[in-house]
């Protein structure tokens, strides 16, 4: 089930898995084994959660016990704070798998000359022995340094402490505060020198949207991915990486055809969509995107495939009602457990959380088809960086699962061509279908064309289509009209059958013939 996206080179430093989704990929294996790693970040960036998750996952996934040294919050508070992540520390303490070292002080101690931190070290050593710990977290060096204002002694003692820890055969993570997202690594400027490795967590605001990232600044003697990678903090799970840019493109390609739900559209696609492909539907409002989605889901259910719809524009009742207007009974399909409709208001979650939510629903329902209606609704509440990451994350996930997908996008203008998408999604999707309004002799008509279809021949005509209570009706191609895609259709008058310079009614009759 688990896949490795990195290959450990020879002589590379051994690493300990954090089992933090995404982090083990960018760090090429986790945290360096039996070394000290600094987790630095501004307040609220998730340092303590990262450190605790490293320990918690060690216990639950690898049977490795842990010691947590706290200089900041009393253990009881920490236990309470992380309970929402499903980490039952009290139970682990009872089972002898977890120990706290409470080094939080209520009052600043008075210094009267030379001292050493050997008392702390003795306590850590004692606790490690007691629970047979392999992982240790120290939270945070900043609070320790704050307690001891006498810089010279504490610096020396901290270095001694860090060096002693290395001899205890444990993998250590230490947290440290930063004052700026971009600037000094740590507040006191000493923290990074006592550790071999530095990881930076950031909590930025870009275009008014919160964006959390993790960056590995240095890994002494070990390989890692460079740059910032987005993550999110979820209840029940903790830190989850949301970047999938480390994924390899190694999905098998299918030649199997599946129905789009409409026979004529299947014919335009040379026999249907390719199984496991992603189809983008672009069109202005009211052109029939949701109808194509409805047909796609219906086609899935009728071919005995499970279908999952993520709706971000309309409520579930509205969707069901719309579908019944096209003679499709979504309620019945849901009862048969063939269809599931998830209607969510885009603003309730941020984009990273939406991605996790979508993935969780896919994992649980296990559909062969999914539809997202529409991506534009999600786009309006996110920065362009995160929408691109969302699209890449989503598409690579559904590709890996070999799910066929339909994604709709609203074109910004009613008549004009507009951009297909601002997020460069067109290069990721396999097929693009355009829906356009066009004005022809005073009437508004609808046109459909397949702009691209990877790995397949397809119809290159722009065809007229209409919508009624039975759904979509694709008709003949528009003849004698050009400029539809550019938004300025012009009729030209030659080679019309029978040479008729007729009205629009005559023309459509001819096309329907």
């Amino acid at each position: 089930m688990e896949r490795t996206y990195f290959s450990a080179a020879e002589n590379e430093v051994k690493k300990v898995k954090t089992h933090i989704e995404g982090f083990d990929q960018i760090s090429r294996g986790g945290i360096p084994y039996h070394r000290n790693t600094l987790i630095a970040g501004t307040s609220g960036c998730g340092k303590t959660i990262f450190a605790m998750q490293f320990l918690a996952n060690g216990i639950t996934c690898d049977n490795e016990n842990a010691v947590f040294v706290t200089f900041e919050e009393p253990p009881d508070n920490i236990v309470e704070n992380v309970r929402s992540f499903n980490w039952d520390i009290r139970k682990w303490m009872d089972e002898g798998k977890f120990a706290f070292i409470d080094a939080s002080v209520s009052q600043e101690p008075i210094q009267t000359g030379e001292y050493s931190l050997i008392a702390l070290l003795a306590r850590i050593e004692n606790a490690i022995k007691k629970v047979k710990a392999s992982r240790v977290a120290i939270d945070s060096l900043g609070s320790l340094l704050y307690q001891f204002q006498n810089d010279k002694i504490i610096r020396r003692e901290l270095i001694i402490l860090a060096n002693r820890l290395k001899q205890l055969n444990v993998t250590v993570v230490m947290t440290a505060e930063r004052t700026n997202e971009y600037g000094e690594v740590s507040r006191y400027g000493i923290e990074e020198f006592v550790s071999d490795n530095v990881i930076i967590l950031r909590n930025n605001t870009i275009e008014e949207k919160r964006r959390r990232t993790v960056e590995i600044l240095k890994y002494r003697g070990a390989f890692h991915q460079k740059g910032e990678y987005p993550f999110t903090i979820l209840p029940r799970k903790g830190i989850v990486g949301t970047s999938l840019t480390t994924l390899k493109m190694n999905q098998p390609v299918s030649v199997k055809r599946i129905t789009s739900g409409d026979k004529k559209l299947d014919r335009m696609c040379n026999g249907g969509f390719l199984s496991g492909s992603i189809v983008l539907i672009s069109g202005a409002t009211g052109t029939g995107k949701t109808l194509l989605v409805t047909e796609f889901l219906k086609g899935g259910v009728e071919s005995d495939e499970k279908s999952l719809l993520f709706a971000f524009e309309e409520s579930k009742e509205q969707i069901v009602r719309n579908a019944s207007g096209w003679n499709v009974d979504f309620n019945e399909m849901e009862k048969g457990n063939k269809l599931k409709i998830i209607a969510l208001y885009p603003e309730v979650l941020n984009l990273e959380e939406h991605l996790i939510e979508i993935k969780t629903h896919i994992e649980n329902f296990n559909p062969q088809r999914i539809a997202i209606d529409s991506l534009s609704a999600l786009e309006r509440m996110s920065s362009s960086t995160s929408i691109t990451e969302f699209v890449i994350g989503l598409t690579s996930f559904i590709k890996e699962k070999q799910i066929s997908a339909m994604i709709t996008i609203s074109a910004p203008t009613i008549m004009g061509a507009g951009t297909i998408t601002s997020a460069h999604i067109s290069t990721i999707t396999d097929s693009i279908i355009l829906l356009r309004y066009l004005e022809h002799r005073g009437c508004v008509k609808r046109g459909i064309t397949i702009l691209k279809m990877r790995g397949s021949f397809h119809d290159r005509e722009i065809r007229e289509f209409s919508i009624d209570n039975k759904g979509i009706h694709i008709k003949k191609p528009f003849k004698n009209i050009q400029g539809i895609l550019s938004g300025h259709p012009v009729e030209y008058m030659y080679d019309v059958i029978g040479g008729v310079n007729g009205s629009s009614k005559d023309l459509s009759e001819l096309l329907d013939a």
């Binding site: 070292i101 210094q111 000359g113 003795a122």
Partner: protein
């Protein structure tokens, strides 16, 4: 200052290093000067008794805890700075 209350101190050290001996010597000389023999001092070597360090949540050695009179006071360091020690223990007049 309540002279009726007896002073009870606990001094935590680690091993029998010269640093520790200096600390003990420094502290005793301050006590003898200010409190004469009117105090109890217990020296705990946490190398021998690590549980004591855990119980008192120690970070540094030497650490002195004034257990009585209350409130509890904590002083770290080797008591080189005599004035600071006296101030911390409310023994300045």
């Amino acid at each position: 200052m309540n002279m009726n209350k007896r002073y009870i101190f606990k001094l935590f050290i680690y091993g029998q290093s010269d640093d520790c001996k200096t600390a003990i010597k420094n502290f005793i000389s301050i006590c003898n000067e200010k409190l004469h023999s009117d105090y109890d001092l217990k020296v705990v070597d946490i190398k021998e008794e690590p549980e004591e360090a855990e119980e008192e949540r120690l970070i540094a050695v030497p650490t002195l805890i004034r257990q009585s009179p209350t409130p509890e006071r904590r002083i770290i360091g080797n008591f080189q700075d005599k004035e600071k020690v006296l101030a911390a223990l409310d023994l300045t007049e």
